[in-house]
């Protein structure tokens, strides 16, 4: 009884820990620019039921379509009413499912390894942090895991490893896993264009697993017709699922072609051409990020425990079933997949930290194999207790870092995962602008002009989504300036010239500085990207009067 319930309880504990790190206070971090872009795109689908795939930006439609029921269930019909937490809920749930999903592979990895894998996936700071992001990456990782887990279960159902499970018969055996794997592959494609890297890594991984096992090759040859038919069904299901999403569920068939044409643009971006030079990092960027990172604040971050255990897992599990209970073919598959993903993403000049998320999930699974192996091979008694204690300490260290990353330092420049993170200044600025704009609601709504070169004003469209009249400019516009102005700090001289030289006498509105109480008189959009904000003096006075009315006089006026 205990042997059955204990693993379930431990898994439940890991899932609860993972859920707590992913689902709690989802709105605590200001919206990242990329999240805001996705949110505004999602708003069109939410409010008007309109979605067309854009091959140049936004990635795939899965994030938007799958978020739709989640946000609708919360009773939200307008983007203005949506919150950060509601939007981030889908990735957070899928991030939690990634923890629980390891259990699908318990027969292939071994129960101990699956449990350790679940715990390490739950506590990995990177996996936890990016599960709290309204971007497609966690969806891609979850669907990738779903694809190879279900694919693996299907292979095993066709040609079971005699050491692990009894053979079953029937032409349709494993068909459910096959259809699921196909659906997940389609969803991968619908999530993000970079799925092709995962496809390539999975294919090579599967090829390597097959090539390194004469027994597997023999079984594959014996079941060649079945496997071929299965592959066709797999691709067919994947194509149908992908086509449904990209065609906006048959409303925009051109999206299917665009999903292929998109690769020309993304190939250019990956090579560093175009306007992506700020994302170009050295080949060892991901290694440094995950193994040893010291932020500006001086705090050190490391997921070295997972890396170390993954190496142990590959070394112990790739040869044969022994002390490691993992299926060597699965370990080889995961090992090659991990290595290739790291190699490809490291070779691509364009790097953002979340791109390596898929590889790191595979590392957590392999680390589970390594941890289970170490516990098993340690001599019973004090040595095994010591090994277990060291492992628990490693997990605790990861969990503490995940807690810091997701909660106490979620927007801190010292947090390696908070890449180009929007600062807390932006929500504060947006609140102030909303209060100003509330002076004149309705049709006479206050106009706001946001002026940033190269349209570098994200995530402001998310934060100003409740305002009726917002203009977006990349240079100080001609004509009358709005009573509320937000602009890049470097545009201030242009604004002054426009206001005091380019405007005739008698029409030069007096502005006040809205950010005089912010450090340096600017709001940081991201670290080192500064905004200035001004309001026309009469509007500011109206705002001040209204605020005084709302809050009441500070004290009776007494001489």
């Amino acid at each position: 009884m205990m042997r059955k319930t204990l693993p379930a309880c431990l898994l439940m504990g890991a899932v609860l820990l993972g859920a707590a790190l992913r689902l709690a206070t989802l709105g605590n971090r200001p919206m990242h620019a990329d999240e805001a872009v996705q949110a505004v795109k999602f708003g069109d689908l939410l409010e008007r039921g309109h979605y067309t795939y854009d091959p140049a930006e936004y990635h795939g439609p899965a994030l938007h379509y799958l978020s739709l029921p989640v946000v609708r269930l919360a009773g939200v019909r307008r983007l203005a009413d949506a919150t950060e937490a509601q939007l981030r809920l889908l990735p957070a749930l899928l991030g939690t499912a990634l923890v629980a999903g390891v259990w699908v592979l318990r027969r292939d990895l071994g129960r101990g390894a699956a449990l350790w894998g679940a715990v390490l996936a739950a506590t990995s700071p990177m996996l936890a942090f990016y599960s709290r992001y309204f971007i497609a990456e966690t969806l891609l990782v979850a669907f990738t895991f779903g694809a190879f887990a279900c694919g693996w279960r299907w292979v095993r159902a066709r040609s079971p490893d005699p050491a692990a499970e009894p053979e079953r018969s029937g032409r349709l055996r494993g068909a459910g896993w096959l259809v699921l794997a196909g659906a997940f592959i389609g969803l991968m494609h619908a999530a993000k264009e970079t799925c092709v890297i995962a496809f390539a890594a999975m294919l090579v991984g599967a090829g390597a697993a097959l090539a390194l096992s004469a027994d597997a090759r023999q079984r594959a040859r014996a079941d060649l017709p079945g496997l071929t038919l299965g592959a066709a069904v797999l691709l067919g299901v994947a194509a149908v699922v992908s086509a449904l999403f990209f065609s906006s569920f048959l409303a925009h068939p051109r999206g299917i072609l665009d999903s292929v044409a998109a690769y020309a643009g993304y190939a250019g971006r990956a090579s560093g051409r175009g306007d992506a030079s700020w994302h170009l990092h050295s080949w060892h960027y991901y290694l440094r990020l995950l193994l040893w990172w010291r932020g500006p604040g001086g705090g050190a971050w490391s997921e070295g425990a997972i890396a170390l255990l993954a190496v142990v897992g590959v070394a112990a599990g790739a040869r044969r079933r022994g002390a490691s209970r993992a299926d060597p073919q699965l370990v080889r598959f995961l090992g090659v997949y991990l290595l290739l993903m790291f190699a490809i993403y490291s070779a691509i000049p364009y790097k953002t930290p979340w791109c390596i998320l898929g590889a790191w999930h595979a590392a957590a699974l392999l680390a589970g194999v390594g941890a289970a192996f170490l516990v098993r091979v340690a001599p019973r008694g004090a040595a095994r207790t010591l090994v277990a204690l060291v492992l628990v300490a490693g997990v605790a260290h990861l969990a503490w870092q995940a807690y810091r990353a997701s909660f106490t330092a979620c927007a801190d420049p010292g947090n390696p995962y908070a890449y180009a993170q929007t600062t807390d200044d932006v929500p504060a600025l947006a609140r102030r602008i909303e209060q100003l704009a509330a002076v004149r609601p309705g049709e006479r709504a206050v106009e706001v002009q946001v002026i940033c070169p190269n349209n570098d004003y994200w995530p402001l469209p998310w934060y100003l989504r409740r305002l009726a009249r917002v203009g977006w400019h990349d240079a100080v516009p001609d004509g009358t300036l709005a009573p509320v102005l937000i602009m890049s700090a470097e545009l201030e001289p242009g604004f002054a010239r426009r206001l005091f030289v380019g405007t005739p006498p008698g029409r030069r509105t007096l502005y006040v500085d809205l950010l005089q109480d912010f450090p340096g008189g600017t709001a940081e959009l991201r670290p080192n990207s500064h905004l200035r904000a001004f309001a026309a003096a009469p509007l500011w006075e109206q705002y001040a009067v209204r605020r005084a009315q709302d809050t009441g006089p500070t004290k009776d006026a007494t001489p």
Partner: protein, 264 residues
């Protein structure tokens, strides 16, 4: 074959249902009160790159470069605590209840009125001297203000040269929370106010001073003074009218500041 057909049929049904469900979910009327499209610009363009930028390099100097300068008006001591209660006076705006932030002007903007000559409709003030209006002393204490006689009266400041005027700040008398009536502020190019006269503030709602109907609101005197946005109007002479206040029929002036730059 029978099982296979069942699977195919079931899969087709699932697909159809999925398409119908998603399209039903997405097909919603635009809710009322939807945020309108952005004005004066296209909808937000695609994702800008998330990036870590170096601090922006300063723009190269240009011949017409203009720097912004926050003008923080030097304030006297407050003479009463807290936000004044609105007075029982029509058309009076609520007190700000908070300090006004510095206003922005081109670099080099100064108080052009400081120690400039002052004339008045009442050459023999009831209390004090006209020089008090531009002497820089803004305290509401005896000796810091001038009181003109009852009725509509004005004080006038000669800026010495034609100037671009961005703001005028006026303190009538802030010992208590008075409201001065029929405050009108004009700028002109000549001392008789016949050339290039611009009214920059007027709260004389019934034109009882004969200068036209004003749409500006009355205001409660506080130590912050009244800031008047002059929108860069050009002129040499500044004239301020008033017609008594809510406490008595006197017309008081502690200080008048005129922020601008001489026209080159």
């Amino acid at each position: 074959m029978g099982r296979f057909a069942c699977v195919v049929l079931a899969a087709t049904a699932v697909l159809l249902l999925t398409v119908l469900l998603v399209r039903a979910l997405a097909r919603q009327e635009a809710p009322p009160g939807r945020v309108p499209e952005p004005v004066a610009a296209e909808a937000p363009p695609p994702a800008p790159p998330a990036r870590k930028l170096p601090l922006p390099a300063p723009a190269p100097p240009e011949a017409s470069a203009v720097g912004l300068e926050p003008i923080a008006v030097e304030l006297p001591r407050p003479m009463f605590e807290g936000t004044p209660r609105p007075l029982d006076e029509p058309n009076v705006e609520e007190p700000l209840g908070t300090l006004r932030p510095p206003f922005l002007a081109p670099e080099g903007t100064v108080n052009l009125a400081h120690r400039r000559p002052v004339s008045s409709s009442d050459p023999w003030p009831v209390i004090g001297e006209l020089e008090a209006v531009t002497d820089g002393d803004k305290e509401a204490t005896p000796g810091s203000f001038v009181e003109l006689g009852p009725g509509t009266q004005w004080v006038q400041v000669d800026l010495d040269t034609t100037a671009v005027i961005y703001a005028i700040v006026v303190w009538h008398y802030h010992l208590q929370a008075h409201v001065y009536r029929d405050v009108v502020v004009q700028v002109a190019e000549d001392p008789d106010f016949t050339l290039g006269v611009t009214t920059v503030f007027n709260n004389d709602h019934d034109s009882s001073s004969g200068l036209g109907v004003g749409l500006d609101k009355g205001y409660v005197e506080t130590f912050e003074g009244k800031l008047i946005d002059c929108k860069g109007v050009e002129g040499r002479y500044v004239r301020l009218y008033s017609q008594g206040n809510t406490s008595d029929d006197g017309n008081h002036y502690i200080e008048v500041e005129v922020y601008g730059q001489p026209v080159p």
